[in-house]
């Protein structure tokens, strides 16, 4: 035809599947994933069978790791702790989720906001707040109790198994909440109407229809809580150690003390890894089963269930949970942060900005630790988003055979607890030739690996929502695949990718479980700093630092909500 004709490339056909840049990219991604995911895992296993000095094959590490009854007790404690915390979390979360998703309880938006506030509170910050609240004798709840009753001592003691379980449950119940609301929002009113018209009242309908439909999701959420509880390091370290019992993670930390016994730690981490893999598989089976609402997409129109007078009872319960997780902890964190000495209470002459001044300008490393946290989190969020976007694109568009393998490697870190991941990274990259121990790089790499699954799930969902015809239209009009990516795919995914970035960045700024094993003198992050302060007993400084970290998160949250909607952190693919 006329001038618009493209250069006649018809004469120079290309091979259908050729060894072009796609394959190079594929190889590069494989290499990166091997480095990030596979190699630490393999090193973990190898190290657990290696003699500390000679490196020869041995079972001695396992014998050491399980040879003492207190080591085994720590394992059992973890399982009990996980179970108790998960059940408590269920008791907090399920009624709230039901009330928010399906009823006319007042303050539903407020409740969601408070759950979000809970979700962005790092568990160790919550633990510190609860030390202020329920420490024996000096804890505020005990002081109010003695004041009111005249008794000599209050009944609350955070330094106990129950105390630890409650604190963990209070900051992991949002997982159950997220899973349950997501499932309940897919139960259509028509399903409930069908039960009603056959003679079932609202309560019976809830018990017989609504809850059973949401049950797999609820159990899935409980499993996540259980795993969160057994993998957690900060809260147990702050509470269990003073209470003179150990859990897996605190015991692992002790194996890492002087001298570092990484071989024993690796052997000791295996049950934690095994339990996690097993339960995640179970959870996937449960929530993936077809025929359940979790998968049926739109559930039709939903009308709230009218609770009548009970709506205020539900609201009371929601505010009770919020008091335990948000109101009371933040009130007393604020008090401590602005107090000369937190024990002296709310008196005006006890008010001071000294703690903030000290933390920001005088303390040798506190301010730098916050900067480190944000730098490392930014670097790992960026790396994880770019990497998972490439993988998701290759997988979703089926550009290479066995692309599914790449996707699997991206989500695999989900089953590796942060503590275990850190030990794997230590085993793989601390020794020469890389000698990364104590560098910023090892922290960034570990964070990247830890949050790959969040990136992959979000990038995959975003790409799947993009009709491939959008790109085909570019190509058929003469644009290359690269043009399609640049002009169409990237602009359309901007929001989702920003969302994924934030969903990684925010938790990465408060990551402790992996960081505590990998930081060095110059790479201390804010979470480690807070942990150190708690060991030194500087609760006023600690409160100030913890609040600074929270306040710095707020603008990010605001950006996320602007770009992606109010609940962007409370969706299923956020966890």
């Amino acid at each position: 035809m006329t001038v618009t004709a493209l250069p006649s490339a018809a004469a120079r056909p290309q091979r259908g599947i050729s060894f072009d840049s796609t394959w190079l990219l594929w190889a590069a991604i494989i290499a990166v994933l091997l480095f990030l995911v596979v190699s630490p895992f393999i090193y973990l296993v190898i190290t657990s069978f290696s003699d500390q000095r000679t490196g020869a094959f041995t079972f001695a590490n396992y014998a050491t790791a399980y040879g003492r009854s207190r080591y085994v007790d720590a394992l059992l404690n973890s399982l009990r702790l996980g179970g108790t915390a998960a059940l408590l979390a269920g008791a907090f979360a399920v009624p709230l989720a039901w009330a928010v998703a399906r009823t006319d309880m007042p303050g539903r938006g407020l409740t969601r906001m408070l759950v979000l506030a809970t979700f962005i509170t790092p568990p160790y910050t919550g633990a510190v707040a609860w030390i202020l609240l329920a420490g024996p004798n000096a804890g505020w709840l005990n002081r109010f109790y003695t004041l009111l009753t005249g008794a000599e001592a209050g009944p609350f003691n955070i330094y106990s198994f129950t105390g630890l379980a409650i604190v963990i449950a209070l900051y992991s119940f949002p997982y159950v909440f997220i899973f349950t609301t997501a499932a309940l929002e897919l139960v259509s009113s028509e399903m409930e109407d069908a039960a009603n018209i056959l003679g079932a009242g609202p309560w019976r309908t809830m018990w017989r229809v609504t809850l059973p439909l949401a049950l797999p999701a609820i159990l899935g959420g409980l499993i996540i809580c259980f795993l969160e509880a057994i993998a957690l390091f900060g809260s147990p370290a702050m509470i269990a150690i003073p209470a003179r019992f150990n859990v897996v993670t605190t015991q692992l930390f002790q194996f890492f003390g002087n001298p570092v016994r990484v071989e024993v730690a690796a052997a000791y981490a295996m049950p934690l890894l095994g339990v996690t893999i097993l339960l995640i598989l179970m959870q996937q089976l449960m929530t993936r089963r077809k025929g359940f609402v979790a998968l049926t997409g739109k559930g039709g129109e939903r009308r709230p269930i009218l609770l009548g007078r009970w709506r205020w009872v539900m609201f009371g319960y929601a505010m009770f949970v919020a008091s335990l997780a948000v109101f009371l902890p933040y009130l007393f964190l604020l008090q401590a942060a602005f107090a000369k000495a937190w024990g002296r209470g709310f008196a005006l002459d006890n008010l001071s900005l000294r703690n903030f001044h000290f933390v920001l300008f005088e303390h040798a490393t506190a301010a730098k630790s916050v900067i480190n946290s944000f730098l490392y989190a930014g670097a790992s969020a960026t790396a994880a988003v770019i990497l998972t976007l490439c993988v998701a694109y290759i997988v979703v568009r089926r550009l290479v055979p066995f692309g599914g393998l790449l996707g699997f490697l991206c989500v695999a870190p989900f089953v590796i607890p942060g503590v275990v991941l850190a030990i794997g990274f230590y085993a793989a990259y601390a020794p020469p030739p890389l000698s990364l121990y104590g560098t910023a790089l090892i922290l960034i790499l570990a964070f990247t690996t830890r949050f790959l699954p969040i990136g992959y799930v979000n990038a995959g969902a975003a790409l799947r929502s993009l009709n491939p015809e959008m790109e085909e239209a570019v190509r058929v009009l003469g644009g290359s695949r690269l043009t399609a990516l640049r002009r169409v795919v990237a602009p359309l995914l901007k929001r989702s990718l920003l969302g994924a970035w934030l969903l990684i960045f925010i938790p990465a700024t408060r990551e402790l479980s992996a960081a505590i094993f990998l930081y060095g003198p110059n790479t201390k992050v804010a979470s480690v700093m807070i942990f150190d302060m708690s060991e030194e007993g500087n609760l006023e400084y600690l409160a100030a630092l913890a609040l600074i970290l929270q306040v710095l998160t707020l603008p990010l949250l605001w950006i996320g909500q602007k770009a992606l909607g109010r609940d962007f952190m409370l969706r299923r693919n956020a966890t």
Partner: protein
């Protein structure tokens, strides 16, 4: 030389043949539809022509140059074709003008030239006043027009359309059929149009390729396809029809309730069951016994439906097991149960496989 030639093209997915032994030649400027039920391989064929899917066997040539074979495929962006997708694939991040101008930009035309051509084509599809709008602000029909403009403005060698009207409501669909044909008459672009809607294919096409289970059933002009279907599938897929089973009895062929002279029937020399297609419109219906040379059968009205534009009667010849469907004008009214005469012209009966 033909514009586009598909030679024994096949496409396997695993061991399943989505398309098998597909051969077709398009003359320059011709409008050809690929018509068939979902899963018949028509979209796969189109995507092979576009270069998105390599053939498992056979070749595709454009103006004599090979563009697809199992071993080498010219990528879509080098084929100088354009395509309209089922989802329209209008880029939501670009305005109407940017969408339409995209292909020209890729071809590195000057900004002034791009503007001139975009304005001209937007005039043709009556969208000039919406040039600055974003796709989210457009109705389905308007998006469709943008997709048309975007595909035509680059003056492609071949235009491909993949069920472009399936997302529109019925009225708009009818309007857009004529629009597509109008644009074809104006620009004379060689076009391949995929659809499962027979009336769409009939309104737009010079020739229709009826496909079933990955194979070509028949290629013909619309009126030939309707009047002379060659297979039971084509007869059943294009319009409504009566399938009549007959058997040779001496010089006659006997059907359910009537018989016709073998000499007047097409292909009546076969043995065993002979299958014929007879369109409901081709059957006469009257209350008086008609005169003439056709086959006349006394019958009874077994049921009827009124569809506004015509009556759809079920008429059972006396002594027959099954009724036949007969269409008449809306003013020809018979009550259910009344006696009528069927008037069947054996020449209208088409032998099908």
């Amino acid at each position: 030389m033909s514009k586009l030639a598909l030679k024994n093209v096949a496409r396997l997915y695993g061991s399943v043949a989505a398309v098998a032994d597909f051969s077709l030649e398009l003359a320059p400027g011709e409008f050809v539809s690929l018509l068939g039920p979902s899963g018949c391989g028509k979209t796969t064929t189109l995507r092979m022509i576009a270069g998105f899917v390599p053939p498992s066997a056979g070749t595709i040539e454009m103006e004599g140059q090979q563009i697809s074979s199992p071993s080498s495929v010219v990528p879509p962006e080098k084929r100088r074709m354009s395509m309209i997708f089922q989802s329209y694939a209008i880029w939501p991040n670009m305005t109407v003008g940017e969408n339409v101008g995209f292909g020209l930009q890729v071809r590195r035309l000057s900004r002034a030239e791009i503007d001139r051509r975009v304005d001209a084509i937007l005039d043709v599809v009556q969208m000039r006043n919406l040039k600055g709008r974003y796709p989210a602000e457009l109705s389905g029909g308007q998006q469709q027009r943008v997709a048309l403009a975007r595909a035509i403005v680059v003056e492609p060698e071949v235009l491909l359309l993949d069920e472009p009207l399936s997302n529109l409501d019925a009225n708009l669909r009818e309007e857009m059929r004529f629009e597509i044909r109008r644009l074809h008459d104006a620009f004379k672009i060689t076009t391949v149009y995929v659809t499962h809607d027979q009336s769409e294919a009939m309104v737009t096409s010079d020739r229709i390729v009826v496909m079933n289970k990955g194979r070509i059933e028949q290629v013909d002009a619309p009126h030939r396809l309707y009047a002379r279907p060659r297979s039971r599938f084509v007869a059943g897929f294009i319009g409504r029809t009566n399938f009549l089973e007959g058997a040779r009895q001496g010089s006659e062929v006997g059907f359910d309730g009537f018989s016709a002279a073998a000499s007047r029937l097409e292909g009546a020399n076969g043995t065993g069951t002979l299958l014929y297609s007879l369109r409901p419109q081709a059957i006469g219906l009257s209350s008086q016994k008609p005169n003439g040379s056709s086959v006349v059968v006394e019958s009874e009205i077994a049921g009827r439906s009124y569809l506004g534009e015509y009556w759809d009667y079920q008429v059972r010849p006396l002594g027959a097991a099954k009724p036949m469907r007969v269409s008449t004008g809306p003013n020809v009214v018979f009550e259910v149960g009344s006696r009528v005469w069927l008037d069947i012209d054996p020449a209208a009966m088409v032998r099908v496989d």
